[in-house]
């Protein structure tokens, strides 16, 4: 389908939307759903039907609005663009919300004939009008939680209807794809991404433009793009949210990558624990095919591209690119030695780009606003924004996107609203099982790849778990070691046996059987595993132990019987 046709669709949708005075966005992403968003949106819809004049307000189901701990979340958007957030919106609150949102013109209302059932709902609305409880649900837009964020990846998440291609188009979707196809050479695209300073958001932070360049220069009849949606880090769900709540954004990024490297086919590798993400991505692919965005001659150009979904089956290690490749090939998800790197020999031995979801989701915006725009966000070496899943002992937990370089202090105390109750903030854990704990003494650390690395942690995929003073660090370290023991693929001995022995030592210490020399033994073993393991999983598995040993050694020492 040609660009013009798509524009028509977009304009049509924009026109349709602009006919409403107000639009009520209701989050139906996993977190809010489990908080009862299902009932909330039903009530909103029923009430709208019963309300005297329905058509001036539209109820829209959207994705995550961020503040998951306060779900179900609802946003009322004025034509002017002015917005009000409502938290903990249960059915009752939903009715009051509608009652106060629609304009009550009785003259018109009289003319409307409505059924007895609706009449009862309307009566309820009438009474709801008089209620005064809505106020306490309002979230001030001045909350640091909102003001401190800078949204690139999540810009449209929470606004677009993930199951409506039209809505995505109405928000300027696929303009970037068209831009590269129409105006840019593959080489230029790679350079643009390189200029933007975008780095892999999967954790390692390899410059994306560089990676694309490698693959572009490879001579091969077939090349692949793989979207790494195997978000295994327990405590992180950024990628899931983007795939669920704005699937087309990821698809668009993937296709731009494909054009840049000269790939004709690609795969989304999504972990099976994300059924909704799988459905939404599949839906997006189907819709894109229907509209000629995917398939032969994309947008009427001679660029052809096709994408499929492959589902993981519960293996953290499949986040490692070579293991992921084996998994897509239907084999055991076991990593192999690199080189050769996937960029030269990846899927079925062909040159392959593997990027994680967030990385590709950033691409359309970069193409749209230009490399310089993106590059001026963030720090010297770490450009742009990063999405974090804020969790743990914190008042505001949820999904946030912040510019690189923001300090931990800002995230924890301003965005996160500090640790609830009288417990105290103790440490922030980034990078999940591969990352480490950053103690409150390093609160001013700017969040960027290098700074976190210096502290023995990593940026990781974006899990940010806040630990308060009630948590024992050795036990916390053991939790991650359990995870690594469980998830080790078993190929190389340092990871297979080493992690087990690390855990054995931790057990010994935690159970009070430790001996003074055990701490050094633990430290040495961790370093051995780090330097001799085959893949990233094994190499980083000891990080949680090493970082807690470094910053909370006294907690370990305290566990060792003094007379021993």
């Amino acid at each position: 389908m040609s660009r013009e046709k798509l524009d028509q669709i977009a304009e049509k949708e924009q026109a349709r939307q602009s006919q409403f005075d107000k639009r009520i966005h209701c989050c139906i992403s996993t977190a809010c759903l489990s908080a009862g968003a299902g009932r909330t949106i039903q009530t909103l819809r029923d009430s709208m039907e019963a309300a005297p004049i329905g058509d001036e307000v539209e109820v829209v189901q959207t994705g995550c609005m961020g503040l998951c701990s306060r779900g179900p979340l609802v946003r009322v958007q004025e034509k002017s663009g002015e917005e009000v957030y409502y938290a903990d919106v249960d059915s009752e609150c939903a009715e009051e919300l509608v009652a106060k949102t629609v304009s009550w013109d009785h003259a018109k209302a009289k003319q409307q004939e409505i059924s007895p059932e609706l009449q009862t709902v309307r009566d309820r609305l009438e009474t709801a009008r008089k209620k005064r409880s809505l106020k306490k649900h309002i979230l001030s837009p001045d909350l640091p939680f909102f003001t401190k964020q800078f949204k690139v990846v999540l810009r449209d998440v929470g606004y677009v209807d993930p199951e409506k291609l039209e809505d995505y188009l109405a928000h300027g979707g696929y303009e970037s794809l068209h831009k590269v196809l129409a105006e840019m050479s593959p080489e230029q695209v790679c350079d643009e991404i390189l200029q933007s300073g975008l780095r892999g958001r999967g954790g390692a932070g390899f410059p994306t433009g560089l990676k694309w360049g490698f693959v572009r220069r490879e001579e091969s009849d077939v090349k692949y793009v793989v979207v790494n949606g195997d978000e295994g880090d327990p405590g992180a769900y950024m990628d899931r949210t983007v795939m669920e709540d704005n699937p087309h954004q990821v698809l668009e990024g993937m296709m731009i990558a494909a054009y840049a490297v000269g790939a004709s086919h690609g795969y989304f590798y999504i972990r099976a624990e994300y059924p909704i993400a799988v459905d939404r991505i599949r839906g997006a692919i189907r819709a894109a095919r229907r509209h000629g965005i995917l398939g032969k001659s994309v947008l009427g150009t001679d660029f052809s591209y096709n994408a499929d979904v492959r589902i993981g089956a519960g293996a953290f290690v499949c986040g490692e690119e070579t293991a992921l490749i084996h998994s897509i090939e239907g084999k055991r998800g076991v990593p192999r030695m690199r080189p050769p790197y996937p960029s030269t020999s990846g899927l079925w031995g062909k040159p392959t780009v593997i990027n994680n979801v967030e990385t590709l989701a950033s691409v359309p915006a970069i193409i749209k606003n230009g490399a310089d725009w993106y590059a001026q966000i963030g720090t010297e070496k770490s450009k742009g924004t990063k999405v974090f899943a804020l969790a743990g002992q914190l008042t505001n937990t949820g999904l946030i996107e912040v510019p690189m370089g923001i300090t931990l202090k800002e995230i924890v105390f301003e965005i996160g609203g500090d640790v609830p109750g009288d417990a105290e903030f103790k440490a922030a854990q980034t990078g999940g099982p591969s990352g480490g704990c950053i103690p409150n003494t390093h609160m001013d650390t700017p969040v960027d790849y290098e700074s976190l690395q210096e502290l023995g942690s990593i940026m990781g995929s974006g899990g940010l778990v806040i630990i308060d003073s009630t948590t024992s660090m050795p036990e916390f370290a053991r939790f991650f070691m359990d995870f690594c023991v469980d998830e080790s693929c078993g190929k190389c001995v340092p990871c297979r046996v080493g992690t087990v022995q690390i855990r054995t030592l931790l057990d010994k210490i935690i159970e009070g059987r430790g001996e003074p020399e055990d701490l050094d033994k633990l430290d040495a073993l961790c370093k051995l595993v780090r330097s001799t393991s085959l893949c990233g999983l094994g190499q980083s598995a000891p990080n949680p132990v090493l970082s807690t040993l470094r910053f909370f050694r006294q907690e370990y020492e305290a566990l060792i019987p003094t007379n021993a």
Binding site: T30, A31, L33, S34, A35, L67, C68, S69, G71, E231, G232, D233, P234, G235, A236, Y237, R240, T241, A272, E273, Y274, R310, I311, G312, A313, G314, A315, F316, S327, I328, E329, G330, K331, R332, G333, V334, W348, A389, A391, G392, Q393, T397, G398, L399, Q429, G432, G463, V465, I467, T471, F476, F479, F480, F483, E487, C489
Partner: protein
């Protein structure tokens, strides 16, 4: 290699269906969709587990024959991924998230409680085949930690009590249903 290999019982079994059991038709459809390509193994295993509930020996043998992947490899792949199970699952399921956020907020107590209530270790199914208890590595609802999933429904900000309560109700209903059957 079955030509020279010993004629083992499994071979015959595998050759006798698909005729009878129409669940194999669904499986065949999946394999057909991937043109019986070896690399579809994971997808095929997924659909097999969906249709059959678990991966039986016959099932793996059937898949091995049709995708021309050595049985040992099929077994190796199936046992590598934790999502595949080799024994029938319970009628109801309770999955407790043990992701970091949930862990920090005490999901381990929930696991212990459930294991006590159902009197089975994690990853097992009650003898009456009613309930399976398992844990998951982060369901991505960290905002509502700790969470558990009962029969596909997510329970946010869970406590041992709330979850045990829900499971208890389901078990109670089952008993009533059984009694009625026996009665009528």
């Amino acid at each position: 290699m079955s030509d020279t290999g010993p004629s083992n019982g499994k071979l015959k079994k595998a050759q006798e269906h698909p005729s009878g059991d129409d669940r194999y038709v669904a499986l065949d459809r999946t394999m057909k969709r991937f043109h019986n390509e070896k690399d579809a193994l994971l997808e095929v295993l997924h659909s097999a587990q969906e249709t059959f509930g678990y991966l039986s020996e016959e099932l793996l043998f059937y898949i091995s024959n049709h995708l021309h992947v050595p049985l040992s490899q099929v077994y190796g792949v199936a046992t590598f991924y934790h999502l595949f199970t080799f024994e029938p699952q319970g009628k109801h399921s309770c999955i407790v998230c043990t992701g970091t956020a949930c862990h920090v907020k005490g999901s381990s107590e929930i696991v212990e409680e459930m294991s006590a209530v159902l009197n089975i270790p994690v990853g097992k199914t009650t003898e009456d085949g009613l309930f399976s208890l398992s844990t998951a590595r982060c369901l991505g609802c960290c905002g509502l930690a700790p969470v558990a999933v009962i029969n596909g429904e997510i329970q946010g900000k869970a406590t041992p009590e709330t979850i045990a309560g829900k499971v208890g109700r389901i078990l109670a209903d089952e008993r009533i249903a059984q009694d009625q059957e026996e009665a009528g």
